[in-house]
């Protein structure tokens, strides 16, 4: 079930250098250094309040750091203005914790939204593209006309991923994709992440505190504790880690299983 090692994954898709961020005197990130190779799946693991979401928001330019660099596909996005960031964001897709689907739109309209905003495709072409992504996520035609409120948590996540990949992004960010899901749905979300990597070749960054899911999907895991990455490497390396924070965290799962 482990993620396949991505081919040619030496080139860095995301490179974070000495990133610092403070909110109202509270130091959240205190010198993050992280490299995510192109085509790989990197899981950022850490407890609640460790700064995972803040780190992810920096990757897509939703937050500006106090200092440091966020280099995406060779470009430092920190000094960029709104226009530059909008251009960079077109190469990103993001799956939110609660999917963040537009509740006034149907499933079809949600997935078609990025195509309608950024392409000049005809309605027929949009239909083809949307159905292709929905099929990839294992969603049947019947859900197309349903509203997000009528879907289960797992289905919402799938629609969220279909929307995130519809413009063929280079990077997909997943914000706590398995939080609050039952084990079977968690498994299907893991499959969905692996499918996106395998079928679409995207670079994936997953933030999570779900250890089992992290070991299922990751090529590499970065462990975030007190605002710094204290361990970073393949899943096996993390299991051998001598860092006390990592050991305590992993014991909650491996200690019991």
């Amino acid at each position: 079930m482990n993620a396949p090692t991505p081919p040619g994954s030496e080139r860095a898709m995301i490179d974070i250098v000495d990133l610092h961020k403070t909110f109202a005197g509270n130091k959240v990130l205190t010198g993050i250094n992280l490299t995510v190779p192109a085509g790989s799946t990197c899981v950022i693991l850490g407890g609640s309040g460790s700064g995972k979401t803040v780190l992810m928001k920096h990757m897509i330019g939703l937050l500006k750091p106090d200092s440091g660099k966020v280099i995406v596909d060779g470009q430092d996005i920190v000094p960029m203005g709104v226009e530059g960031l909008q251009q960079v964001r077109r190469s990103f897709g993001m799956v939110f914790q609660a999917a963040a689907l537009f509740d006034s739109m149907t499933v079809f309209e949600n997935v078609a939204f990025p195509l309608r905003q950024h392409t000049k495709l005809s309605e027929d072409e949009i239909r083809v593209q949307v159905r292709k992504r929905l099929d990839l996520m294992g969603l049947k035609r019947a859900v197309e006309d349903r509203f997000p409120a009528d879907l289960s948590g797992g289905m919402r996540k799938r629609v969220g991923l279909a929307r995130a990949v519809v413009l063929d992004p280079k990077v997909v960010l997943y914000d706590e994709p398995t939080t609050g899901l039952d084990p079977i749905t968690t498994d299907s979300v893991d499959d969905m992440i692996l499918t996106a990597q395998k079928e679409l070749g995207v670079t994936s960054v997953v933030i999570s505190h779900d250890i089992a899911s992290a070991f299922n999907v990751a090529n590499q895991i970065a462990f975030l504790s007190k605002g710094v990455i204290v361990e970073h490497g393949p899943p096996e390396q993390l299991r051998q880690s001598q860092h006390p924070a990592v050991q305590v965290f992993l014991q909650t799962w491996f200690g019991k299983n």
């Binding site: 897509i60 939703l62 709104v82 909008q86 251009q87 964001r89 077109r90 990103f92 897709g93 993001m94 939110f96 914790q97 609660a98 963040a100 689907l101 537009f102 509740d103 939204f113 990025p114 905003q117 950024h118 960010l173």
Partner: protein, 271 residues
């Protein structure tokens, strides 16, 4: 005894300090909110003149704010005109000046009441919906989702709503004028027996186009203010369902207050 005596002034001082602190915090909050609304207004203006122009979104909001408010504004206007004609006729009858009912109602409606009431109706019906919808989108990360999809939320969500407020409140003010005068005419002519010719000619004699323009300018200013306030509160909502509810309450209070305060300021500047 010796231990209790010093605590009395302390308690008083504490309560006084707390009151002053509360007042200061309130003032800072108001000033910071006004600053936030003005900054948002500038941002909305900046994004309203940039491509892409999403006309579909604009027409959807024009329909929601304007067309959707026709019934309630028309009804309010009719009854306001009727009541006003009834009450003024009672007063004017004391010195045989019922012929002034028409111009009095007309001047009051066009200069003051129509724009104020139309803006209040839009605040209650459309402003609350704008604030709640934007607030819900904010707390459920739908606004963040827009940003991650390289769609500017100010341009996509706020520009059409603010433009709808700016354009449709003056239009609804005109509707209020029309229905209000119709209501006043019906009560004055059919209810109180005032001659139709007197009602219309006196109204025409006392009214000037500038009176109507004043109401329309006020309507545009109120519409802009109400839409900006409701969008600002909703767009910056936080703290789940409770936060959205609180933002909507604050938006309603701030919008209603701003209408009356701006009415005085604009009225003063125009006269």
């Amino acid at each position: 005894m010796t231990t209790e005596t010093p605590s009395k002034p302390n308690r008083f001082t504490g309560a006084f300090t707390q009151s002053v602190e509360g007042l200061g915090k309130g003032i800072i909050d108001v000033v910071s909110s006004i600053g936030g609304v003005v900054a948002l207004g500038l941002d909305v203006f900046r994004w309203s003149v940039r491509r892409p122009f999403r006309l579909h979104n604009l027409f959807t909001q024009l329909d929601f704010v304007g067309v959707g408010s026709i019934f309630i504004v028309g009804l309010t206007g009719t009854f306001t005109g009727m009541v006003f004609a009834l009450q003024t006729s009672t007063a004017f009858a004391l010195f045989d000046a019922e012929s002034l009912v028409g111009p009095t109602v007309a001047l009051t409606l066009t200069r003051e009441l129509a724009s104020v009431f139309a803006a209040l109706m839009v605040t209650m019906r459309a402003g609350s919906a704008m604030c709640t919808e934007l607030g819900t989108m904010r707390v459920t990360e739908q606004v963040d989702a827009l940003e991650t999809m390289a769609v500017n939320p100010v341009q996509y969500l706020l520009v059409p709503r603010v433009l709808a407020g700016l354009f449709m409140v003056p239009a609804l003010t005109m509707l209020f004028n029309t229905t209000g005068m119709t209501g006043a005419y019906v009560v004055a002519v059919f209810g109180l027996g005032i001659s139709p010719g007197t009602f219309l000619s006196r109204t025409q004699q006392w009214m000037a186009p500038a009176d109507v323009y004043e109401g329309l300018i006020k309507g545009a200013i109120f519409g802009l203010a109400v839409a900006l306030i409701c969008c600002f509160k909703g767009y910056n909502a936080s703290g789940g369902a409770k936060g959205v509810g609180q933002a909507t309450t604050e938006a309603m209070v701030a919008s209603a207050l701003s209408i009356f305060i701006l009415d005085f300021i604009v009225g003063m500047l125009m006269h």
